[in-house]
Symmetry: none
DNA sequence: AATAATCCTTAAGAATTTCTTAATATTTTT
DNA sequence: AAAAATATTAAGAAATTCTTAAGGATTATT
């Protein structure tokens, strides 16, 4: 994620809020610097101030759009003519006026990311995986075992989804925690174990002798292919 | 395909994106010009700005609907009152707020075309969905439950339409808000919850034990297939 | 233009479901 | 047999959803 603003305080403030959401943040102080960074790093979303030295936000938007089709959120001061922005910017995806509520900015960032992700995986298309009678439907968020629907809690579902979409691969407890909770695993190993137990109760015929969700001693867990 | 907007930049930008998808594009700069073009050429979908000189988008929609039943996608600036659009139920099939994501517009265009093209011929086709006794008629904007017509408010209708046309798929509260209100959901989660409750009161036999509109804990809501 | 009716949003607390923790038990490896 | 990793259980904490009601906004009616 790239934050472009000529004021350091704003860059830093936005960085703090975004990092808090678990995303990597790059910063640039004008359009030129932003374009350079874009060439060098993979970026999934840009927050772009309008008023900047060297290369302003509007021009930068055009240049970015020539190359990449990633979400662009424009920041503009209230005094500037928002209508003009509205009219001009077919290229930007959203805009926020300064002074802005950081939480709102975060909400808009999330919204943009969601939007692109949904269109990427294409709407309404069912992606169903079947592993020896254990199935997952990622659009309906539904899992069935031996033909019967299984009622999983959100965390349980995420763990199963992770393991099933990577069937056969072993995930350490720490990996599972980090990918599901989106934060480092610090003394939470047992939490994962408890969830594994619950999942087994729901998807396995005999939770003590799991056929689907297997442990790999000393390494982690995996879903049998 | 007809694009109607008083700003040349927007007309042209949309044209580029649509042509990229392989469709023929006609352009008009206000409602009157649009109606003229409609008489002269076969058009399968219209993208219509609201704020235009001479004949605005809302009035144009009425006039178009008198003659043709083709998909209409409305464009509106965020500053305008979206509730008004909802409340008016002018007969548009979808709408997008400026500034918009070109990819999203293209996706919505495709979605509309899919909907209408499914049954071969084009005009005046009723698409009725029936899910275990809950039906929706998208052209009449009518919903029935257990044979009885259900009177839904505009927002309620939009939510039901979203869920029914994607039956089985789970939508988070944020997704629902964004797709119905056309803006990011910031502290409006409960608003959705209240609407869900009202809808259940109207379509379910027992709102406490919903058979149609189900919650998926920690994830969202879905309409049972 | 005023009134009535309908609809939307907000807020606050209740009800429900889920998560984590901690203490203990079991299994596997060395 | 000891150490390490995983498994189990239950109870309190936390989070999510549900419900209700009131006030504001909008639309329809008189």
């Amino acid at each position: 994620m790239l934050v472009v603003d000529d004021e350091k305080e704003i860059r830093d403030a936005i960085e703090i809020y975004l990092k808090n959401e678990g995303v990597t943040v790059l910063k640039a102080k004008d359009g030129i610097e932003a374009l350079e960074l874009l060439n060098e790093h993979p970026v999934h979303l840009i927050i772009l101030d309008i008023m900047m030295p060297r290369l302003d936000g509007i021009s930068a938007t055009y240049k970015i759009r020539e190359k990449k089709n990633i979400p662009i959120i424009i920041l503009s001061a209230k005094s500037e003519d928002t209508d003009k922005i509205l009219g001009l910017q077919v290229g930007a995806d959203d805009y926020v006026t300064k002074p802005f509520n950081p939480m709102e900015l975060v909400a808009r960032v999330k919204s943009q990311l969601r939007r692109y992700v949904t269109f990427g995986t294409f709407e309404g298309i069912k992606k169903v995986i079947d592993l020896n009678g254990l199935t997952i439907d990622q659009s309906a968020k539904e899992v069935t075992a031996h033909g019967e629907p299984v009622k999983l809690t959100p965390i349980e579902y995420k763990i199963v989804e992770l393991l099933m979409t990577n069937a056969g691969r072993v995930f350490s407890i720490h990996e599972i925690y980090e990918r599901v909770w989106k934060e480092p695993c610090y003394n939470a190993e047992n939490t994962v174990a408890v969830h594994i137990r619950k999942i087994r109760e729901k998807i396995e015929i005999d939770a003590k002798n799991p056929r689907y969700l297997k442990v790999v001693w000393g390494i982690g867990y995996k879903m049998e292919k």
